[in-house]
Structures are given as C-alpha cells and as structure tokens.
C-alpha cells in the first residue's frame, strides 16, 4: 500500500505545472525562495489539511485557494529574510495596531498587545538551535491580515487569563466578585429523561445552528454581530434563531414524551429552574463560557505546539 509521502510525491509530479505557475505568481524569487522550497511548503500545507487519500483535484483546489503571495512573505519573514521583514512592516504594521486597538479598545493596551505579537512573529524562542517564528505557522488558508487578527485575538485572551491571577483584591471586589470561592455544590439528581432529551436534541443540531444558539444565548452577542461573523444578513439570523428555538423546544418535548412523560410533564420540566437540577452551571460557565471571565487555560492551537 502506498504511503502518504509516496502519494504526495506522485501528486507533486502531476501538479508540477500548477506549482510552477503559483511559484511565478508568488514573487518568491524576491525573497530568495527556490521553487523546490516553495513546492515543499505548499505540499506540507496540503498534507496537513487534506485527508491521506485525497484525489489530485482536491490538491489542485487547495493549492489554488491559498494566499500564495502572503504565504511566501510570511515564510520568508520566518526564515529571517530582511527584505521580507521590511515589506511585512510596511504592509502590516498599521493594520496590526488597528486590529489590536479594535480588540482592546484602549491605545496603550493595544500597543502592548501588538508589541507582544511582534516578538512572537519575529521569534524569540528557539527549537534545536533555530529561531521559531510564529509566521512559520501561517499556511495561507485565509488572508495574512485575517490570520494576524486571529493571532492577536488569541494572544489577547491568553493575556487576559494570565492577568487574572494578578488582579488586586480591590479590583476583584469592584468587579463584584466574592472574597473566597464557596465549595462547589453537589449536583442534585436530575430527571435523566429531561437531560437526555435536551442532550439528544442539541446533538442532532447542525454545527451552524448550534453555533448561532451559543453565540446568542451563551455569549450574549447581538444578532448584528453574529450576522457579521457568519457573513449573513441580520434578519437571516433573527429568522433562523426564532425557528431554531421553536424546533428545539418541540424536539425536546417530543423526545421526553417518547421517553414516557406526558406532554404536560414535559412542558413543565422544560421550565424547571436549572438550580433545582443536577446541572453544574458554575463549573461549565467557568470552563467553557464565553464573556468574562475567560478560562485560565492557555489556548494552544492545533499544529502550533506548546510555546
């Protein structure tokens, strides 16, 4: 059976004309990146994102969708190419600061955040004697500007989490927090038919529906904001949300009646105060949820490793 590397080598031969064309488009020569190096970079990206048995058409589609010029710039920066750094700074310095300002909404914090990102982008840590730049993880699936915004957002959240440990008592009190955390309450036994029905109905939802529900009901985002994130119109989200809530409710009641509850019992159970049930909301809120406080664990993205 052919190995993945073997398949990649075969495909690489088949895709050679396309790779050459992309190489010429990418201005890689400007940063002294050879065609072979370029080919290795995009092949590694395809191997990362495509399943082992992906056909050649998928490889072609992926290659063609990459932001090749930005990818080359990022990789040249990661390799320490001086001209690439100059180009990067000219093109992205202001954008980085603007994005940081949009995230933090405060100029000095924004400068601090952008500064910390520069350090990561330049690469201070070393692996096997080599400087590791965060730009080496950019793979061109989205725009470099968008990627930088995402990295900034991630860094901001991580900074927020780590700073939580150094917040003064006064600040905590002002923020309405208690001096000491009370011991976690023992969950009360809940009706398994209810929780089972809810879990089943939620699990049956398509990813996008669940995402919309979470953004609206857990993260308290506005319809307009959800719409801008998902690139649809606000009214689409509004209609969809209403339909979703109705359908979800119906599905849960159906599942509960299917499990032996009467309709009235099922409807009453839906309105039960969550505090009376064995759902540990406090724990889940501090672990998973959303708007402050952030979880204290640092986010490490797939493929980046520990930093």
């Amino acid at each position: 059976m052919p190995t993945r590397g073997h398949v990649a080598r075969e495909l690489k031969g088949e895709l050679r004309p396309l790779i050459r064309e992309l190489f010429e488009k990418s201005s890689a020569g400007k940063y002294a990146l050879s065609e072979e190096q370029f080919s290795n970079i995009i092949t590694a990206i395809a191997e990362k994102y495509l399943p082992p048995d992906a056909p050649g058409s998928d490889w072609r589609a992926l290659f063609s969708s990459l932001h090749i010029e930005e990818l080359v710039l990022a990789r040249a920066c990661a390799a320490g190419h001086e001209r690439a750094w100059q180009d990067f700074m000219i093109r992205y310095r202001d954008k980085l600061h603007e994005a940081a300002l949009r995230i933090t909404r405060e100029d000095s914090t924004a400068r601090e955040l952008a500064g910390s990102i520069y350090t990561d982008l330049y690469g201070t840590s070393s692996r096997e004697g080599q400087r590791v730049s965060k730009l080496a993880y950019y793979s061109g699936r989205g725009s470099l500007e968008g990627w930088l915004r995402t990295v900034l957002a991630q860094a901001h959240i991580n900074t927020y989490r780590s700073s939580r440990h150094t917040v003064s008592l006064e600040e905590e009190t002002e923020a309405g927090k208690q001096f000491a955390t009370s011991p976690e309450p023992q969950p009360l036994p809940s009706d398994r038919r209810l929780t089972g029905a809810i879990d089943g109905a939620l699990a049956a939802l398509p990813g996008e529906d669940r995402c919309i529900l979470s953004y609206y009901f857990l993260d308290d985002l506005t319809l307009a904001r959800i719409a801008s994130i998902l690139r649809v119109h606000e009214s689409t989200i509004s209609r969809r949300l209403e339909k979703l809530v109705r359908a979800l409710r119906k599905d849960i009641i159906l599942r509960m009646t299917g499990a032996g509850m009467s309709r009235r019992q099922a409807e009453e159970a839906m309105e039960t105060d969550v505090r009376d049930l064995g759902v540990d909301i406090r724990k889940q809120l501090t672990q998973d949820s959303s708007t402050p406080p952030f979880s204290s664990k640092k986010i490490v993205r797939a493929g980046e490793g520990q930093e």
Binding site: D58, S65, R141, L205, G207, C211, L213, L221, T236
Partner: protein, 359 residues
Amino acid sequence: MQLPKIVAARLQGSILPEHPDPDLLTAFAESTLLGKEREQVLSHLGACAECRQILALATPELATQVNPTARRETKWSWWQAPVLRWGALAACVLVVATAVLMHEGNQSSRTENTQIAMQKGPAPVLPAAPPRPETKEQAQNQAPPARTQSSRSVAPGMKRVPAPAAGAVPTSGFNASASADANAVNRMPKSETVETQAEAVAPQAPAGDQPRARDSMALAKAAPVFTPRPSMETAASTIGGAANLTDFRPPTWRLSDDGLPERSFTSGQWEKVQVDHKNGFRALAALGMEVWIGGAAGLLYHSQDMGLNWTRLIPVTGSSTLTDDITTIEFADHLHGKVMTSAGQTWVTSDAGKTWETP
C-alpha cells in the same frame, strides 16, 4: 424569543475536539472554507466558547458597534413612544380635516374675498409621516417595519451606486435592483414588465474593506445593488482546481436529495454548495459559469461565478410576484431563460433575470 434555561445550560456542556488553527478560523471568517471543513469548524464553534470568542474578536464588525452586554436592552427612540406616535397621527388627521373644512367653507360661502382665498390655494395636505430625524440612529428607528426592497441587505464588498430618482427607470446591469423606493415601481409607466428586485447573498468582502463597509451599511437601505461581473479567472482561482485556465472547464451541476445544489469539477467528486443557508431546491440550470436554482415559494437564486456568490432574484410583473413553487428552469444563454412554476405559469426573461414577463 426565549430558550429554556435548562437547554441553555446543557448547550454549554460539550466535549471539545481539537481546536482549529488560526488559519482555519481565518479562512472560516473570510468564508473561504467549503464543505466538510466549514462544517467541522462550525461544529467546533458550537461547542467551544474559546474559539467563538477568538472569532468574534478577530472578525471586524460590519455594523455599528453594539455593547454585547446590552443585547436585550431595546434601543429607545422618542419616536417609539406610542403616545407620541399616535399623537402625531392625530395631529396630521386634524390638519387634513381642517384643511378640507376650510376649503369647503370657502367654496360654499362665496364671500367677496373668495378670489383672494382661491389665489392662496387650498391648505397643503401634510403626509402622515414622522418628523425629520436628526440623527442616523433616529432615521434607522423610523424606517418602515414592512420588509420592502429598500430594507434588503447590501453585503460588504459590493459597490454602491447612488439611488435613482423616484420613478426613474433603473439603470441597466445584471444585478441592478429596482429603485430603492418600493413605490417607485408603482409610479413607473405601466408596461408589461417591471424591474426585478434583487438581493445579494453572502458575497465575500476582502478583509481590508470591512471597516469601510460598516459606514456604508447605513446607506444600504436606499441604494440599489450592483455586483460587478466576476472574471472567469477570479472565480476559477477562488474556487480552485482551475489555475490553468486553458484547461479550465466549468463544473457539472445537480441537485442533491435534500435539494442542495452540488457541483463537480471532476467526475464522481460532488460537493454541496450552500445557498443562503437554504435547501429544498427543485430546479437547476447551469450554463458555463452561470447557475440558476429555484425552489418552493418562488425561491430563485442566480450565481455568475459557479456558485461562489449567489443573488436572490424575485421576479415580478405588473402587480404580481412569483410566489409559486419553481419546478423547471431553462436558460438558452446567460440572458434568455424561462422559469416554470407548479401553478403552470411560465416566467420569461430576456435580460438575465432583470425583468420578467408572463406570456
């Protein structure tokens, strides 16, 4: 809209798979992920508050910034107070009634100063409209609640052109919508055909343009839409698999069992294409890079770029709108085509869906 608390609580508890990397999140935010990858990211986002947060922070806001914590606080405008609304209406009625009475009184009394009164003319009839808004926010709050064409969305990245004067015939252009003022359609000279209303669906704006799009969102309500016709090179390079344009062949299309369009660039490899998060389409026609799909209740979409961007078409003729189920779509070329409905009607266009006739 209320979600039972217990359901919201269960929504949070999930086992999280591996986080998608920033590249995938960025590609998702820029709507460049297709098919399975997009589904995977969406599924993850539904369960992972951290990634939702990152995405929300990283995505530039297109609309006016709203404090997330104030979500459920309804925006208040003085015009929304019922007393003021009804009061203004009553005042308008009073003015109209007074004007009518004065006019009649002047005619019946036939006094010596009749001629002078007539020279002044009848008192103006004031329309029952709210006072002129002082801010953009007030203007938005006073927008009519009815969903008219003028309230349809114009997505970011789309070029805007000034709204034509009321009653003017809209300019040509495949996706040019009718005048922003819905009444303009009624004021047009009567003819067999009128302009089709068009609604742009989820075009992809370059990230750098989004802050500008935020400002232009306010203009969306009054501006017609114009989508520049994408070049084959743009569409091909975006969709992928077609970098060598001399070898490029448009995809084959079909409808899936659940009524979603599917395209194939290579034989046997089908991928589903999302159209405004809708499914249940029943009819499809494809011609080169152009694709049309239709479904229940007159749902009709058109793509000029092999399914990358879709434009909603709402065929209207005279006073009737296509609301029956679309069963067949046929296009001889990118201009001339017809749509057949479950009610046996045939709607014909000879200008790429801009205007329609029912012979």
